[in-house]
């Protein structure tokens, strides 16, 4: 456990050294700039759009961090041959994979937390300057705590995407890993189409295949509750718990397979 924690902390430090957290500055500038411009352009929809923008940017920046750092976590060590010196130390291969994964999850946690805080700050400012009449038109209050549910599910989705990226990076090249991870990300958001394919195809075999893929491929659409919280619709805690449970099991499965693949790799 201590070895995993040490690798995780080092992975986090490495991402800080690689200036990954600079995206937070970009995020803050984007939100502040948008909060001014959007007020002029949106006919009273500024709070809704800032929420949409803040949550989407959190998901978008997080996705790029998860994919582009995730795919390099293991493969970069192999490419640089630093994996030899790492594995010559008293650590197991599974500790290396899990430590790297946890390190990136820590980076994502810091990112998502700071972005959520920045979003709330901008929203607090908007609430401060809004007239009571403008507030009456909002679907949900500016400083709605339900936004945290969307942020939490974005984070859970990102940890799943990271696990996918780590999985591919244990046996593939970085470019192919990135392509495959992005591919799965897109497919994961269209899982309902796979579920409903039987309604549009006549072939029972194709319908069964689609149904099978629906259950096997990661269902990422369920983590997207951004529009619901922005419109003030209730996202039950039970839903949150079940989607998080699904992600935990799926991530565990991916990490088990990643560890297995990485353990069998021959680095000679």
């Amino acid at each position: 456990m201590r070895a995993i924690a040490a690798i995780a902390v080092n992975t986090f430090r490495e991402s800080v050294r690689d200036k990954v957290l600079y995206n937070l500055v970009l995020f803050a500038v984007l939100l502040m700039g948008a909060s001014y411009l959007i007020g002029q352009l949106t006919a009273g929809q500024d709070v809704k759009i800032i929420k949409d923008l803040g949550l989407s940017a959190t998901a978008f920046f997080g996705l790029f961090i998860a994919v582009f750092i995730g795919i390099g976590l293991v493969s970069k060590e192999v490419e640089r041959r630093s994996v030899y010196s790492l594995l010559s130390k008293p650590i197991h291969r599974h500790q290396l994979v899990l430590g790297k994964y946890c390190g990136l999850v820590l980076t994502l946690a810091v990112n998502v937390t700071v972005m959520a805080a920045a979003l709330y700050l901008v929203l607090a400012y908007m609430e401060h300057v809004a007239s009571p009449d403008a507030m009456r038109a909002w679907d949900a209050p500016a400083l709605d705590s339900a936004l945290l549910k969307a942020v939490a599910l974005i984070f859970v989705e990102l940890t799943l995407v990271t696990a996918i990226a780590v999985f591919f990076s244990t046996f593939s090249t970085p470019i192919l890993s990135a392509a495959l991870t992005f591919g799965l990300y897109v497919v994961g958001h269209f899982s309902s189409d796979l579920r409903n394919l039987q309604d549009v195809v006549d072939s029972p075999a194709a319908a069964r295949l689609a149904r099978g893929l629906y259950w096997v491929l990661p269902n990422l659409a369920q983590f997207d509750v951004k529009a619901d919280v922005v419109h003030g619709r209730v996202v039950p805690l039970g839903y949150l718990a079940m989607t998080t449970g699904y992600a935990a099991l799926y991530i565990s499965m991916l990490l088990v397979v990643s560890v297995f693949v990485f353990s069998r790799r021959d680095f000679r």
């Binding site: 352009l41 006919a43 009273g44 989407s56 998901a59 403008a134 038109a137 659409a221 529009a227």
Partner: protein, 316 residues
């Protein structure tokens, strides 16, 4: 950091600033010599909301925001362009070709975010507004609101808006009353919708009942734009009343002198009016050579709504 490093840094920034300023100057010079083409006409490459829902993956709501901003810019830009062409007699044939992208833009916005309340409500007003303020497509306005009702069947505001489109733009008071009544039956609906339904059915088209409707809309408006729009409509109704009053003064002058007044100054001299009459937007009314009083085309209240066909006339 040494002094030398600092000097080097300052030098680099100064050089970059000079180069940037140079680039800006060259571009400005090029634009003077070879003026850039006029803005490219707006276009929509993908018109299917369902396709865009897929293309935007997990960012549907943000996509809807982008299309909403595009809708506003498109509507505002077209309206401004047409306002520059406007005169006392608008060319109605032009309306056929104007605002072709407005409905597709609003349709995409509401397909990407089916709960985008304001896109339905503002969008319906934009679509129904007659030329040159809009395309005059009350059918599309109702279609957009019905799309919203499909998503949120309990939204009495959409029913009220459909009733309003029937009332104000189509002058179909029976349909308007039916929708107001339907809206009043929604559990959370305000009490006055029931009265509005009854008034519309009884004296639909009467200027006073229009005033009641706009006053109700003004009081229940959930944002500034809707409230300001209702206030503008109320001001237009006041202008219609004032035009009727002024017309009576002009007609009386005509009967007395046997000729129409050559301008407001004749009526001032005859002590019929204290001065040049101003509309509620503080623009002088116009008096035509034939003795007809009308709103100036440069008034913020122009064009006035079409007078109801059934029970038009001054307010009681």
């Amino acid at each position: 950091m040494t002094a030398r490093t600092l000097t080097k840094g300052a030098g680099a920034i100064a050089l970059a600033t000079v180069l940037m300023a140079g680039a800006v100057q060259v571009q400005a010079m090029r634009e003077r010599v070879y003026p850039p083409a006029a803005a490219i006409e707006d276009d929509l490459y993908v018109r299917s909301g369902a396709a865009l829902r897929r293309l935007t993956v997990a960012y549907n709501a943000l996509g809807a925001d982008v299309y909403w901003i595009r809708s506003l810019q498109y509507f505002g830009g077209t309206k401004r362009r047409l306002a520059q062409l406007r005169g006392p007699e608008p060319p109605p044939m032009l309306a056929l070709d104007e605002y072709p992208l407005l409905y597709p833009l609003l349709d995409i916005t509401t397909s990407l975010d089916p709960r985008f309340n304001i896109a339905y409500r503002f969008g319906a007003v934009f679509l129904a507004e007659p030329y040159p303020g809009g395309p005059g497509r009350s059918d599309l306005a109702i279609a957009l609101l019905e799309k919203g009702l499909y998503e949120r069947p309990d939204k009495w505001e959409y029913m009220q808006d459909i009733g309003f489109v029937h009332y104000w733009y189509d002058h179909d008071y029976a349909a308007a009353a039916r929708w107001f009544k339907k809206a009043s039956e929604v559990p959370a609906a305000p009490w006055w919708l029931g009265s509005l339904a009854a008034t519309t059915l009884a004296v639909g088209g009467d200027r006073q009942s229009s005033r009641i409707m706009w006053e109700a809309i003004r009081q229940s408006a959930e944002n500034d734009w809707l409230r300001q729009d209702a206030e503008r409509r109320l001001a237009q109704l006041r202008a219609l009343d004032e035009i009727d009053r002024l017309q009576r003064v002009v007609d009386a002058f005509f009967r007395r002198t046997g000729r129409p007044p050559s301008g407001w100054v004749d009526l001032e001299r005859a002590r019929e009016l204290p001065g040049v009459p101003l509309d509620p937007a503080r623009t002088p009314y116009e008096l035509g050579a034939e003795g007809r009083v009308r709103l100036s085309a440069s008034s913020k209240l122009w064009p006035l709504p079409e007078e109801p066909k059934r029970l038009g006339g001054p307010a009681s």
